[in-house]
Symmetry: C2
Subunit: 244 residues, 2 copies
């Protein structure tokens, strides 16, 4: 499994992904699920992937044109005019990879599936996020649904629904996401640290830092430890139930 979240904020975009990959509980490893590209002054694009690792790695390799020698690569996503076109291209490529895995009598098509969050901004357009399905179609973020999750989405959703605010700072967004990830990591062994983060400031047209949070990160530790107390405390201050 996997857990990735993309948040749309008024000041830009925030991405967070875990890095655990596994085939059964006795075969797990760390792999990056967040990939970013930029052409400073023109565009910045981030993709996060969930699902079959062979599919998602193939997708990223094709997007990066790794079938060509490095000097001849001109990735299409760095040339398309709009984020909508980028989402279409990512969706078409993803669909192709999944269908390719299912050809030649291989029947495990569903096992080749993957989902993708793609977000960013291209000069002339607004920052935006898309959730791309294994079928290649996609939905775009809206004010009513201002974030996307892929992978193990359930444990970490209630806090996002309750505490998301489009005006929040990047720092508060990271705090919120860490709580959401911590709830998920505590409940599902197939989601694990380290976590990758990416900030994109609106109209910056350049990638910000992409920090990685490891298991011994003091900030993550403090969130993980203090959130339990904070929750118990919050519960204590709710009105008490009176038995009739």
């Amino acid at each position: 499994m996997t857990y990735c979240v993309g948040l749309y904020l008024n000041r830009g975009l925030v991405f967070m992904s875990d890095t655990r990959t596994n085939a059964g509980v006795d075969n797990f490893s760390t792999t990056k699920k967040m990939f970013s590209w930029d052409v400073p002054g023109d565009r910045a694009i981030t993709i996060m992937t969930a699902g079959n690792l062979a599919t998602t790695q193939a997708l990223i390799s094709i997007l990066e044109e790794r079938s060509k020698i490095p000097t001849e690569r001109k990735p299409t996503i760095l040339e398309l005019p709009t984020m909508f076109e980028v989402a279409r291209f990512v969706g078409a490529t993803l669909k192709q990879v999944i269908q390719g895995g299912g050809e030649d009598g291989q029947s495990a098509t569903s096992a080749f599936k993957a989902s993708v969050i793609v977000g960013g901004q291209i000069k002339g357009g607004m920052p935006t996020l898309f959730l791309v399905y294994p079928e290649g179609n996609f939905i775009e973020v809206t004010e009513d649904a201002p974030f996307f999750q892929i992978g193990e989405t359930k444990y970490g959703k209630p806090i996002l629904v309750r505490a998301y605010d489009p005006d929040m700072s990047f720092e508060d967004a990271i705090k919120l996401l860490m709580v959401s990830f911590d709830s998920t990591i505590k409940a599902n062994l197939s989601v694990g640290l380290p976590l990758d983060m990416q900030f994109y400031g609106k109209d910056s047209f350049a990638l910000d830092t992409q920090p990685r949070v490891t298991i011994d990160d003091p900030y993550y530790q403090s969130i993980s430890t203090n959130w339990g107390d904070a929750l118990r405390n919050a519960l204590m201050h709710l009105p008490s139930y009176q038995r009739k």
Copy 2:
């Protein structure tokens, strides 16, 4: 879907279940999923069900011996000597019902599945809870895993993991469960009010009240409304993230 939780506390047992049943989003209804029996002074037993409604209704009907006329019924679960035997009997009956549904060329066996939480106390034993699987086998509650959930378990689990305390009062347990149910109801349309509750006080060998919480219940409303504020407040008091 469904959501039911059984909590093991030092002072007894608490059960909560939702009442929504559905076959697709365009066909939903209210149905009771909590059933209790007692022989005052000797035993009190509560069962909660999740899964195929025909299966769970058949299970309860068989347990109540509804194939006999009312005066001739002597339900086995009211005569078995221990809760372990009750769990075995419920498991065997459940397995039989599910297998019966799959006979005669019907191939939708998985669709007939159901899971059950059974808990209570019989004179001479301690209060306990069992989680019975569709295969008829079961696990018992322990200090390390002091509650069981069935149905849509994910959204409401993080708060249970964080805030459960074996010494908590029935009133605090209801508050905790209401938050867990509210998180689930907000996220999954197939879980819905009213909620049924059952308390069992250790060594009481009799059923306590079984209140029903409807959508206009002022306590539920206040929990649902205030929990969002409480969460945001709790998050605000966590240390802030510092970008490097």
